[in-house]
Amino acid sequence: MSWLPIADIVAKVQAGDLRAVDLVEQALQAIEDKHEYQAVIATTAQRARERAAAIDAALKNGETVGRLAGVPFIAKDNFLAFGAETTAASNILKGFTAPYQATAIERLEAEGAICVAKANLDAFAHGSSTENSDFMTTKNPHDPSRVPGGSSGGSAASVALELVPFALGTDTGGSIRLPASFTGTVGYKPTYGLVSRSGVVAMASSTDVIGPLTRTVADAAIVLDVMAGRDPLDSTSIERDENSYATLSGDLKGKKIGVIKEYMDEGLDDNVRAIITAAIEKLKAAGAEIHEVSLPSLPLALAVYYIICPAEVSSNLSRYDGQRYGYSDPAAATLEESFSKTRAIGFGAEAKRRIMIGTYVLSSGYYDAYYRKAQTVRTKLINECNQAFQDVDFLLGPTAPGVAFKIGENTKDPLQMYLTDIMTVAVNLTGIPAISIPAGEVDGLPVGLQLMAAQRADRQLLSLASATEALL
């Protein structure tokens, strides 16, 4: 059974035509029916049922329940949430129950949304396929022999399988948009800072953002509107737009869209290129002005990212020491041994790899050559990006160089896996908002179209994406 658009669900719940308890049961049943896809690590069933009953009772009493009344959702398991463990799909956090909730979850709950489960991910969000989860690999709903993309693969699969109307993901280098592309869902990566990171397991703090995965742009806009805005608990959070992000205006006429030359060049699968080109033609026919735009430093973005990201990862993961929470090795004799044994057993191969790379690029003697150099090339990239937005309102390209790959295809070669992010990382380094929307399929496998806008132009980007979605 499929879900109505979020706005319709909420209207029916508030009118008394749908009950929150039934919506929660529908979601929990769907999770059980589709468990072979391994999208979900654990449900928060008991808490969800209690919250649903409370919402139904409040409505019966004539009380107002918010803009997401009764809507079930699934959060990626790197969000601190009540009702189940928060593991980030890592062994080191197995058994950890959060003492407080992420601001994003609090804001959604305050508007009546109900978290029903925690989704699988690459451990600590390190990866592009969920194969780096310490627990299991999520299967792509379109072909179970393939990956759903990552790291928010469990969240994307949950939406594609219609377990819930929306799921939460995090995007540090493409982790919302890539799985959206691979599963035929909508994935929204907001401007850096627009959604509070408080209560979300940190990966690379200068690029981490939180966003929704949904079936439509309209649904993504509603969820973003509830989560967006300054939070005293995250000093890097920014002021939101005064207007609602959920009010979408659909006119494409005269919109200046720059097609990124570097993303359409070699390295792009021919079938994907054909789908993106067809989408561009439709935008043109609808009155959009299409320009070709070149950002010469884009081919360097992945190298910049794979210095900055592991550096920040190695710093953020240093807190997992086995003393205050999480796994602690029982055999160690000294404190020092306790640290290194706990981390040896608690971290998977990819977390260790990134800690090692990060420690290297930050270490004395190499800091200037790697970390500082990467940060300076990042400035160059930002300048080119700002320059591009002088000439066009939006940028366009594919989300990924190809379709979902086979499970196991890239696990032997870490660098090959990193290359999956080649079209998504620049957005994180520059802090701009971006969205992946379904644009077509190659042999039954979805292809995502990526649209980008200048920092803080989230409202304009969602409007453009909604109008584009209607054309495709």
Binding site: P99, Y100, L335, F347, M356, I357, Y360, T376
Partner: protein
């Protein structure tokens, strides 16, 4: 840094407080070399007088009032997460071997 050695990897592992198996040391030596060779393309980039970017919001000196906010979390709740406690403190192993 294609000349990254096994000893370099062991040193990094010590700095990062990670006990590695022999197999991991061997794998990481090879994999780190590959990643460092890939990112070495930045060596050639001319960045002129550009300054490094460490954050993208443009925010500066974000202040808050110095007041206690009750989030409903007690020290007891937090201590309950620790593997070992004693008298309201986290207990760790001895520091000198």
């Amino acid at each position: 840094m294609a000349d990254l050695t096994r000893e370099d990897v062991l040193k990094l592992a010590r700095l990062a407080r990670l006990q590695l198996t022999d197999e991991e040391v061997e794998n990481f030596t090879k994999e780190l070399r590959e990643v460092l060779e890939y990112v070495a393309q930045l060596d050639e980039v001319d960045v002129g007088g550009l300054q490094p970017t460490s954050q993208v919001t443009g925010l500066k000196n974000v202040m808050r009032s110095d007041t206690v906010i009750d989030y409903g979390i007690s020290p007891k709740d937090l201590l309950a997460l620790a593997p070992k406690t004693q008298d309201g403190h986290i207990k760790v192993r001895r520091m000198i071997g």
